[in-house]
Symmetry: C2
Amino acid sequence: MTTAASSPAYRRLSVEQRRRQLIDVALTLFAHRAPEDVSIDDVAEAAGVSRPLVYRYFPGGKVQLYEDALRSAADELTLCFAEPQTGPLTERLSHALDRYLAFVDTHDTGFSALLQGGSVVETSRTTATVDGVRRAAAEQILLHLGVAESAGPRLRMMVRTWISAVEAASLIWLDEGKQPPLVELRGWMVDHFVALLTATSATDPQTAEVTRAALELERADGAAGVLVRRVLPMLTEAAHLL
Amino acid sequence: MTTAASSPAYRRLSVEQRRRQLIDVALTLFAHRAPEDVSIDDVAEAAGVSRPLVYRYFPGGKVQLYEDALRSAADELTLCFAEPQTGPLTERLSHALDRYLAFVDTHDTGFSALLQGGSVVETSRTTATVDGVRRAAAEQILLHLGVAESAGPRLRMMVRTWISAVEAASLIWLDEGKQPPLVELRGWMVDHFVALLTATSATDPQTAEVTRAALELERADGAAGVLVRRVLPMLTEAAHLL
């Protein structure tokens, strides 16, 4: 405590400010290193405080700091999906994905470590936090599809499956040295959504209804318009299937 | 050892047979319970042998037994994807998915526990084993697409993403009390593949080439034929996009 009190930063910050500062420092460290490669000493050093001070705020040590940092990151990530319910669906989705992918880009190593599992600081709480983000993202998408309360099981499964596909593609993107450029990756993810929505319409009447309404709102020069015009010739070419 | 030797089963089995028996017993237990809910005592009891005997074969205890059982399951799972390279692609994919989904159905709880992470017996080796299955599945699919050696990054990313989507949908299916019926789930996964392949063709020339060749081989009454005929009217209806 004497050491900590002698730090000028310590005197200036309130309890909540100090907690926030330590979480921010931890987030930065966890973003670019696997959790097992970050120690409480690293956090103390980066924050310019003593090791006991970090433990005073986080008596559970690294696991608690990781869980709290993760919850803070999860709140930020959940905000990515908040988007006004106006305009073409593919534009809304593009905005949300741009924010999500910027997050993935910033928190690269931490994002991989978290989602690839097997981490030494992984707990049932970290798993629940990640699942909470997935659930929030799914609810947002169903809201934009106009079926927040009424989505049937197939539409729900479709949205959840697509969210997992986005996570997987993000991990592959990190694994591939951040290739292709983010704007291409985002475009492909939007195309994937439109394709999956359309394919699911073939066997689920509710999805068909939602897809028709979504296509209505699309612009000819938007993502869905470009995709439909590129895909149609390929399908009509397969004349033996028509 | 005296206890074990007194068991009639012990006298009949060779070392390899005994090892195999213990792994099979462990697999059955791990299939329907989370790894944390299976003890070495449970394995010994189910196999009708003593606890020390189990430790003689698996000195690393539960973690080793889990890893070995998982590797055995992984070998079985990898075989699911081996399929002759003849006939329409959607038929080959349907056969592989039927085998994969039968595996998911049989190993339900163990499959969830393994893929949802946070397990107490999860190690870097279990993660590597699961990744090995994913890689083998991706290689098989690229082989069927005729680009085993030559697949570009977008096509590889597409296949890996779809595999993750299949995993995610399988977990959701288990979570939803095994609904919808397996045959519907499999059909939807095949449709998803065709849709993603077609959508990816819009921005990747190699995928476009592969898709054209795949559609050539499809039958009018097969999965791709039915899907194309159901989806086309929906797309052409959106006249403002054409």
